[in-house]
Symmetry: C2
Subunit: 293 residues, 2 copies
């Protein structure tokens, strides 16, 4: 039930718990598709040996296995050419066992990532980065794929009953992957928020943040947003996930968000991160449904 205003003290929007619920529902939906002879299939392409990318790709494959999806991990050497990668994408476009295609970002520098994304069949573009899906987001056409992290943020707000209509939402960051799509979603007829997009060139960022009923930090700077930037009772979603040196940890680092606020409403880790992968599974199901029809 939507609340008239966010409550004080801030509740935790538990991304881990919500992601688990979404994954459970996805497992059930996959089973229903199996009964119709369809196994949702996700192909993840990794070019080069970036360790962080390998972790992400591994966790996507593991989640697929848990949900009864078919998954294919395609690991290519860093020396792969643009044409070779395009051939791999075209092969996946034509493969009826594959409903979703994801090329792990960032590829090596000699790869033209935009051209690779344009080569993905938009009906299999579960990342939502293909121009056709970007346009559908602007046009509020629900047949498109919404990028996973912004979609996860909207679901966190919706499922917690946060009233977005007429609320002041401030997004810090104007990236193609989070800031811009999230702004479009929050200003859409689904959410009806008054949306401000702030960024590195904004003047007096603390004052802009303090007017937010809903504050979303997606800027990638550890603990940049301070406690006194946050209006009491505001809902804060921390999309940032930054590595900060920490000699007390065995790994030598800890993960921290963009927000230093102690009662931040989505914890890092365990907030938006798990939602992103859950949304990827949902998008793959949507692709399997739409292509299976």
């Amino acid at each position: 039930m939507p609340l008239a205003a966010p409550m004080n003290p801030p509740r935790i929007l538990d991304g881990k718990a919500l992601a688990a619920t979404v994954l459970e529902a996805s497992r059930a939906e996959a089973a229903a598709l199996h009964a119709r002879g369809i196994t949702p299939g996700l192909a993840v392409v990794l070019v080069g040996e970036d360790p962080a990318s390998q972790v992400y790709v591994g966790s996507k494959a593991r989640t697929c296995a848990e949900l009864g999806f078919y998954s294919r991990k395609i690991e290519l050497p860093a020396s792969t050419t643009q044409d070779e990668l395009l051939d791999v994408v075209r092969g996946l476009n034509a493969d009826p066992a594959i409903h979703g295609i994801l090329v792990q970002s960032p590829p090596p520098k000699h790869i033209d990532e935009a051209a690779i994304i344009r080569a993905i069949d938009p009906r299999k573009d579960v990342d939502g980065f293909h121009p056709e899906n970007v346009a559908k987001l602007v046009l509020e056409d629900p047949s498109g794929f919404v990028p996973c992290t912004p979609a996860g943020c909207i679901m966190l707000l919706d499922s917690a009953g946060i009233a977005t209509a007429g609320a002041e939402a401030v997004i810090i960051g104007r990236s193609m992957i989070v800031g811009k799509p999230l702004a479009l979603l929050l200003m859409s007829k689904h959410s009806n928020a008054t949306v401000t997009v702030a960024h590195s060139r904004s003047r007096d960022l603390p004052a802009i943040c303090r007017r937010a009923d809903i504050l979303i930090a997606a800027v990638g700077r550890p603990e940049m947003v301070r406690a006194d930037w946050i209006k009491p009772g505001a809902v804060v979603i921390d999309v940032g996930i930054n590595r900060v040196a920490d000699p007390t940890k065995k790994s030598g680092y800890r993960l921290t968000g963009d927000v230093a606020y102690q009662e931040v409403i989505t914890p890092v880790p365990g907030g938006v991160g798990p939602m992103t992968i859950a949304m990827l599974m949902r998008n793959t199901l949507q692709a399997a449904r739409q292509l299976g029809e």
Copy 2:
């Protein structure tokens, strides 16, 4: 030269004068293209007999003639079917004399306008409404066509030397034609403004407007924005063009904008309107250049 802050009292951003300058430059560029054997060509398709649409279409054809462009006006009866209209568009896509295609909005109700727009060759989509051009706007890819009214607003700001970087821009209205594309342009690396999009569901619109250094009204409600909604020294662009009954006029109506402020910086009529048609001519030139290469 960019100013540190907008000056007070507000200057008039004279859309009529700037549009005349743009048209003069376009005439010269068309002459240069003639010398290379290219005549920029614009096709305007009008379905049905809407009187306002007939006025717009006539003025586009007249401007083409003044600039040495080839123009073709295609007037179809209101009974034209979707398939017949698609055939007309496909014919124009294939026609080498035509570089820009515009289907005057709104078409009759039985026409699926989105499908018609998708059928236009994106390289000839001088309105900038094709999904491929919408995506290029989001992705900040300058090879796309920018919708004419938002492009005109940006040029008005730029040519007056208004410093947009870090400024608070507030846009009232979230339409596909003005509000959303203008928001994307103002938050882009070209303009670097802090952008707020407000709309019918926003709470306390006057307070939101009062924080604007640059206020853009694109809502279509006559004189909704009042003088006391405007921060002293703010730059105000009035995109609205509304007919209001006025018995003192021979026509029985007068044209008014969305802003009641007496010193509004773009007058209605004579502000954004002339810029829109000038931007259409620029887009047609861009299409002729890109297709002629």
